[in-house]
């Protein structure tokens, strides 16, 4: 389990990285390496070039401004998890990060790396989808922004061009009027989720759902925004009936087939339960946050 041979580049700047990326469209971009290195050690991936972003220090930052938490792609997950400004602006970020693997993996794993890897069972892509976040990418022809909805295409596949690099990830803030929750079920602590549900919720004056955002991981080929479940909840109080209907709507999004650790039927039940529990937890937090 040793990587095959490759040519190694450690560009000093983003511009240099982008140029290298353009020159070597088959290259692997090495951020934290916590997903890439296992693939290389198993020789499931044999990139001919590796572009290591470790020296591009301009890509490691956490900025909170204009109701957005903007996180440089090379920011270590652990740093974002500990960032007090980010936690104030959007507590769902740290809650999601604490579910990502184990702390030691988050020590090196980067925010941009996890998003670019686009594992449908991973938490950060689901979080980005839930929040309607976006990424900024850089290519030789300049920068552009891709929304979460446009970004995740398939299992381990994003809509980035082969010569583009993610520079930052933007998570919209959640004002104090929002409740939040990320719940998942894993086999072991730190494993990828059999299913996870990320929820953010705003209640209006008469305790009816004013705004709600729901996304799931582990249930299909991409993180999934549970839109029909959201619609089922709008303008209704969180009654048993509403929760059940939202759960059922969410269960309909499960496309993962029967697997050893989770049958499709089990995953559907799991999503239903997690939607319910996540919504109730978000609402309970909202109560605490606003009281």
């Amino acid at each position: 389990m040793k990587p095959s041979r490759f040519e190694y580049f450690a560009p000093e700047s983003l511009a240099e990285a982008v140029a290298l990326r353009d020159a070597h469209p088959g290259a692997a971009v090495l951020a934290g390496g916590q997903s890439l290195l296992p693939i290389m050690n198993f020789r499931l991936g044999r990139p001919e070039q590796v572009i290591d972003l470790r020296k591009a220090s301009e890509l490691a930052f956490v900025r909170v401004q204009n109701d957005v938490v903007e996180v440089g792609a090379m920011t270590r997950q652990r740093d974002l998890e500990r960032d007090e400004g980010a936690a104030r602006a959007n507590p769902l970020i740290a809650e999601s990060l604490r579910l990502v693997a184990h702390a030691v993996i988050r020590n090196r794993g980067t925010v941009g790396g996890s998003i670019a890897h686009a594992d449908p069972a991973a938490e950060l892509p689901a979080l980005l989808s839930c929040l309607d976040g976006s990424v900024e990418v850089a290519g030789v022809r300049g920068r552009r922004r891709i929304s979460a909805g446009e970004l995740f295409v398939f299992h381990l596949t994003t809509s980035l061009e082969p010569n583009e690099v993610i520079t930052s990830v933007s998570f919209p803030a959640l004002e104090p009027s929002w409740g939040w929750s990320f719940l998942e079920v894993t086999r072991r602590h730190g494993d990828f989720a059999l299913a996870g549900v990320c929820a953010a919720l705003k209640l209006d004056g008469d305790r009816c759902v004013g705004q709600v955002r729901l996304a799931a991981c582990g249930i299909g080929t991409t993180p999934v925004r549970l839109s029909t479940a959201e619609e089922a909840l709008l303008s209704r109080p969180l009654t048993e009936k509403a929760l059940r209907e939202a759960g059922r709507a969410a269960a309909g999004y499960v496309t993962a087939g029967d697997e050893t650790q989770a049958s499709t039927a089990y995953r559907r039940q799991l999503v239903e339960a997690l939607v319910r529990r996540s919504l109730l937890r978000a609402a309970a937090r909202l109560e605490r946050r606003t009281s």
Partner: protein, 182 residues
């Protein structure tokens, strides 16, 4: 099994020079760019206390501190730590050169059997007990704290007990929280 296509660029093994400080000693070595940090420590520097158990980041046997942070050395290329400072199990000791409180506690509480996973546990526990993060020394909290490392022998109970004993010895039990001693 078919042969791999090899581009001209990777036909020759690319090497790079790197400088690191490990356990306070500075080293400079020329290594292939694909050399894993675990192999670099073990075979290039002869620091064999860092063990290799899975090479895909799950077992934690190869955990070392990179600039104070617990890191899987099997998921890190040696060249990625150029210019950084590392601590391996060989560098863990108490002020008087004896066993560090974490090591002492593991022995007192029978937190090791075959010893293969032990250096990884020592390093992982050390990072947490030295971190500024709030500590949760409840049974569940400690188990979560060490949940990035696998042990096949002990059933973890002795390790959990050892974390608590070490936390007391290091003065991390009282406030259960912030402002840990340096």
């Amino acid at each position: 099994m078919t042969g791999v296509e090899t581009s001209e660029a990777v036909e020759a093994e690319q090497k790079t020079s790197l400088r690191v400080v490990v356990n306070g000693t500075a080293y400079e070595r020329v290594v292939p760019v694909r050399r894993l940090l675990s192999d670099f420590l073990r075979h290039d520097l002869g620091l064999t206390g860092t063990h290799v158990g899975c090479e895909h980041g799950v077992c934690g046997c190869c955990t070392v501190l990179v600039d104070g942070r617990a890191t899987r050395s099997c998921l890190t290329l040696a060249c990625q730590v150029d210019g950084l400072s590392l601590t391996t199990i060989e560098g863990v000791k108490s002020a008087d050169g004896g066993l560090h409180p974490v090591q002492q506690a593991l022995s007192d509480c029978h937190g090791l059997q075959c010893g293969y996973c032990t250096p990884g546990f020592v390093i992982s526990i050390l990072e947490v007990l030295n971190s500024p993060d709030e500590l949760d020394l409840s049974e569940e909290g400690v188990r979560e704290m060490i949940s990035g490392n696998l042990c096949r022998c002990t059933g973890y109970q002795g390790i959990v007990d050892a974390v608590r004993q070490a936390a007391v010895a290091m003065g991390r039990d009282g406030d259960a929280g912030k402002g840990a001693p340096a």
